[in-house]
C-alpha cells in the first residue's frame, strides 16, 4: 500500500513530550508522563494507525499534535512549518481537525445539526453570507451520507452511527488536509463500524486526506492504515508498515499484542499461539526505569533496567525500541 504515496512528510513530530501535573497533596505536584519522547512522521495521503492499551497515551498524542494540549517539549512540524505561535496554531486549525471517540458527548445537545457542522466555519468566518453557509453544510452532509432534511434537527434525535457522521462532517467543514481520528468507531456497533470505516476510506480518496487513526481494535486499524505505530506507557515501541507488523512484529510487546488479535476463523485461531503477558500496565506516575516494558517482558535483561532503548530503524522503514531486538529475531 505504501508504495502509492509520495513520500513527502506532511506531519513531523520530533521528541514530543506531554507531562501532566498531578496533585499529590497540598501544593505538591508530580509529573505524569502521558507522552514521553515520541517521534514519527506522517506522509501526505497516508493513514498512520496508532495502537496500544488503554492509558498508554494514544489520545494524548493526538490531542497534543493538534495543540489541544500544549506540549511540554518537542516540535510539531506541519507541511514544513513549525507550529509554535498563536497565529501558527490558528492557521493550523484550518488544516488539521479531529474526529472524537464518543459521538454522544462530542455534539452539543442544544445545537442543531447544521449549527454543529458549521461551527468551524462560524469560528473562522469562512463564508460570505447565509446562503453560502447553508450550501456548504448541505454539501458536507451529503459527503457523509446524511439526509438534507436532518439539518434542522438536534443531535439527540440520531443514532450513534449518524451522530458520528455529523462529527465527521464537522471535521471536514474547514476543508482540512489532515484529520486526527481518535477512536472514531470504538463506540459504534460492528455493522456501523464497517460503514463508518469505509466512509473514512472513501473520503480519503475523494478529498486526498491524511489520517492519524487512533484505535485499540487491531483489525480495524489494519484495515485502514498504511503504517502502524504501537505505543506502550507513553512511548512508541514499534513503527512499520501495516502488513509487516502483523506478519513480523519485532518488539516483544508488539508480538504479544498481535498474537492477541481475535481471528474470525476458528481454524486459524486454534493454530495461533497466544503470548500471554503477566501483570498489569504500570502506572505512568511510577514508570519503571529504562525500558517501560521490562517489568512484563520475558526477555528483559539488566541493560533494559538501566537505559531506555533508542527508537531506531532496524530495517528500512521499520523502527523498534528494544535493546535485544537483533538477538531475539
Amino acid at each position: 500500500m505504501s508504495e502509492k504515496q509520495n513520500n513527502s512528510p506532511l506531519v513531523e513530530v520530533r521528541n514530543l513530550k506531554k507531562y501532566f501535573d498531578i496533585n499529590t497533596g497540598m501544593f505538591k505536584t508530580r509529573p505524569l508522563k502521558a507522552v514521553d519522547d515520541v517521534s514519527f512522521t506522517i506522509n501526505r495521503g497516508e493513514t498512520l494507525g496508532l495502537v496500544g492499551e488503554s492509558g498508554c497515551g494514544k489520545t494524548t498524542v493526538g490531542r497534543t499534535l493538534l495543540h489541544l494540549y500544549t506540549p511540554t517539549s518537542g516540535d510539531i512540524v506541519y507541511d514544513g512549518h513549525e507550529i509554535k505561535t498563536k497565529a501558527d496554531i490558528n492557521e493550523f486549525r484550518k488544516k488539521a481537525t479531529m474526529v472524537f471517540q464518543d459521538p454522544y458527548s462530542s455534539l452539543n445537545p442544544r445545537m442543531t445539526v447544521s449549527d454543529i457542522i458549521a461551527e468551524p466555519l462560524d469560528i473562522h468566518k469562512m463564508y460570505q453570507n447565509e446562503e453560502e453557509r447553508r450550501a456548504r453544510v448541505l454539501e458536507l452532509m451529503e459527503h457523509v451520507g446524511l439526509n438534507s432534511e436532518h439539518a434542522s434537527r438536534y443531535a439527540h434525535e440520531f443514532s450513534g452511527g449518524q451522530r458520528q457522521r455529523i462529527g465527521i462532517a464537522r471535521s471536514l467543514a474547514v476543508d482540512p488536509e489532515f484529520i486526527v481520528c481518535d477512536e472514531p468507531v470504538s463506540a459504534l456497533d460492528v455493522s456501523i463500524q464497517a460503514q463508518v470505516i469505509n466512509m473514512f476510506g472513501e473520503l480519503q480518496e475523494k478529498l486526498g486526506l491524511t489520517y492519524l487513526f487512533i484505535a485499540h481494535d487491531l483489525l480495524v486499524v489494519r484495515h485502514i492504515s498504511n503504517r502502524i505505530a504501537v505505543m506502550y506507557l507513553g512511548k512508541m515501541v514499534e513503527l512499520t508498515d501495516a502488513a509487516e507488523i502483523y506478519e513480523r512484529p519485532l518488539h516483544p510487546y508488539s508480538k504479544a499484542l498481535m498474537s492477541a488479535v481475535p481471528m474470525p476463523d476458528p481454524k486459524i485461531a486454534r493454530e495461533n499461539q497466544r503470548i500471554p503477558l503477566s501483570g498489569d500496565i504500570p502506572s505512568p506516575l511510577n514508570a519503571p526505569s529504562g525500558c517501560p516494558f521490562r517489568t512484563r517482558c520475558a526477555h528483559a535483561c539488566e541493560r533494559c533496567a538501566e537505559e531506555m532503548p533508542e527508537f531506531r530503524e532496524i530495517e528500512k522503514g521499520h523502527f523498534v525500541a528494544c535493546h535485544r531486538v537483533e538477538e531475539l529475531n
Binding site: 472524537f100 471517540q101 458527548s105 452539543n108 461551527e119 469560528i123 438536534y154 464537522r170
Partner: protein, 353 residues
C-alpha cells in the same frame, strides 16, 4: 419448496416485497422538537405548577393594574381633609364599613367605593395597602433575584471556566461569605446602610422613588445571596467544560468567549432559570422579615412584612389585619416555590433523581 422436518428454514415465498406506499408508511418523520418545546410540554402536564403559575400571574397583574383605578391611595388618610378637624370615624374600620361622611353620602343616594379590607389605625384603605405591599415584595423578589443571577453567573462561570488558582481564590471567598451567619449579617448591613445617608446620595435620581431602604435591601442581596448561585453555576460549568463538544470547539479554533456563550451557557440555562425562580420566594421572605423587624421599606410605603408588624399592636381587636398580609405572603411564596419545582421537573429531568 420441500421442507425438512424440524428445519428452521423459512418459506421465502410467504414474503412479499413492500410496495412504495408501504415503504413510505414505514418512514415517518417525527417533527423536530426543541429542548424548550419539550420542557413546555412537560410543564403544562404538571397541574400543580400550572395552577401556581396562574396564581403568580394573577397576583402580579393585580399588583400592577389595581392601583390605577382604585379610588384610594396607599398613603391617603381618609379622615384627614384640609381645613377640617380629623374625622376619627375613619380609623380602624372593619371590612365593608364606612366613615361618617361616607355614610352621609350613602344616605343621600350616592355610591361610595367600599373599603374591602377596612382601614388601618390612621384611616388608610387597607386593601390598597396590601396591594402595594405585595407590589413591593414582588418587585424586591424579582430584582433581587436578577442581581443575584448576574453576580452569581459572572463569578461562577469565571471560576468554573478558568479553574486552577482563580477558582481556588474565588471559592475560598465564597466559603467565607457562606460561613457567616446570614441573618446577623443582613441586619448589620441593613442598619449600617441606614447610617450612610443613602437617601441624600440618591436625591433627585430615579432611585429616589424606590427609596433608600429598598436599595439597601438590594445591596444586601447582592452582597450575600450570590454565593449559592455562583457555586451552582461553577459546578455546572466544571462538568460541562470537560465534555467533548467543548474540546471539539477548541479543536476548531474557538476562544473562551465563544465556548462560554455557545456551549456552556446554553447547557446550564435550565439550572439558571430554575434556581432564579426559587430565589424569588426566598428574597420575598427575607424582605418580609426585614420589614417586620423595621429594617425594610420606609413609612408610609407599606410592604407585607411591615403591614404584619403594624398589625401586631391591634392583634386582639383586628386579627384580620395580621392574617391578610400573612396569607398573601404565604400564597406568593408557596406558589413561586411550587412553580420553581415545576420548572425544574420540566426543564431538568436529570435533577429529579
Amino acid at each position: 419448496m420441500n421442507k425438512k422436518m424440524f428445519s428452521m428454514h423459512l418459506d421465502l415465498d410467504a414474503f412479499n416485497p413492500a410496495t412504495e406506499s408501504e415503504k413510505e408508511y414505514m418512514v415517518q418523520m417525527r417533527p423536530s422538537s426543541t429542548f424548550f418545546r419539550d420542557g413546555v410540554k412537560r410543564f403544562v402536564k404538571n397541574k400543580v405548577a400550572l395552577v401556581s403559575l396562574i396564581i403568580v400571574v394573577l397576583i402580579t397583574l393585580s399588583c400592577i393594574i389595581i392601583p390605577f383605578f382604585w379610588p384610594y391611595s396607599y398613603d391617603q388618610m381618609l379622615g384627614v381633609q384640609l381645613g377640617k378637624p380629623v374625622d376619627a370615624s375613619y380609623n380602624n374600620l372593619a371590612p365593608f364599613q364606612y366613615g361618617a361622611t361616607e355614610q352621609a353620602k350613602i344616605a343621600a343616594g350616592e355610591t361610595v367605593f367600599p373599603h374591602v379590607f377596612g382601614t388601618d389605625s390612621q384611616g388608610r384603605d387597607y386593601f390598597i395597602r396590601i396591594i402595594y405591599g405585595a407590589r413591593i415584595s414582588l418587585a424586591v423578589g424579582f430584582f433581587a433575584s436578577i442581581i443575584v443571577l448576574i453576580i452569581g453567573m459572572t463569578v461562577g462561570s469565571i471560576s468554573g471556566y478558568c479553574g486552577g488558582k482563580v477558582d481556588l481564590v474565588i471559592m475560598r471567598i465564597v466559603d467565607i461569605i457562606y460561613s457567616l451567619p446570614d441573618m446577623l449579617l443582613i441586619i448589620l448591613l441593613a442598619s449600617a446602610l441606614k447610617q450612610t445617608k443613602l437617601d441624600e446620595i440618591i436625591q433627585g435620581t430615579v432611585l429616589e422613588k424606590i427609596g433608600a431602604n429598598i436599595i439597601s435591601l438590594f445591596i444586601v442581596f447582592g452582597v450575600l445571596y450570590w454565593v449559592s448561585m455562583s457555586r451552582l453555576i461553577r459546578g455546572q460549568i466544571l462538568s460541562l467544560r470537560e465534555q467533548e463538544y467543548v474540546l471539539a470547539s477548541q479543536a476548531a479554533g474557538a476562544r473562551g468567549k465563544w465556548i462560554i456563550f455557545k456551549h456552556l451557557m446554553p447547557n446550564c440555562i435550565s439550572v439558571i432559570i430554575i434556581s432564579t425562580a426559587l430565589q424569588i420566594p426566598s428574597a420575598i421572605f427575607t424582605e418580609s422579615y426585614l420589614s417586620f423587624l423595621g429594617l425594610g421599606v420606609n413609612a408610609p410605603m407599606p410592604s407585607l412584612g411591615s403591614l404584619a408588624s403594624d398589625a401586631l399592636n391591634g392583634i386582639n381587636s383586628y386579627p384580620y389585619r395580621l392574617v391578610i398580609p400573612a396569607v398573601v405572603i404565604s400564597l406568593i411564596v408557596l406558589s413561586l416555590n411550587l412553580l420553581g419545582d415545576g420548572l425544574r421537573d420540566a426543564f431538568d429531568p436529570k435533577l429529579n433523581g
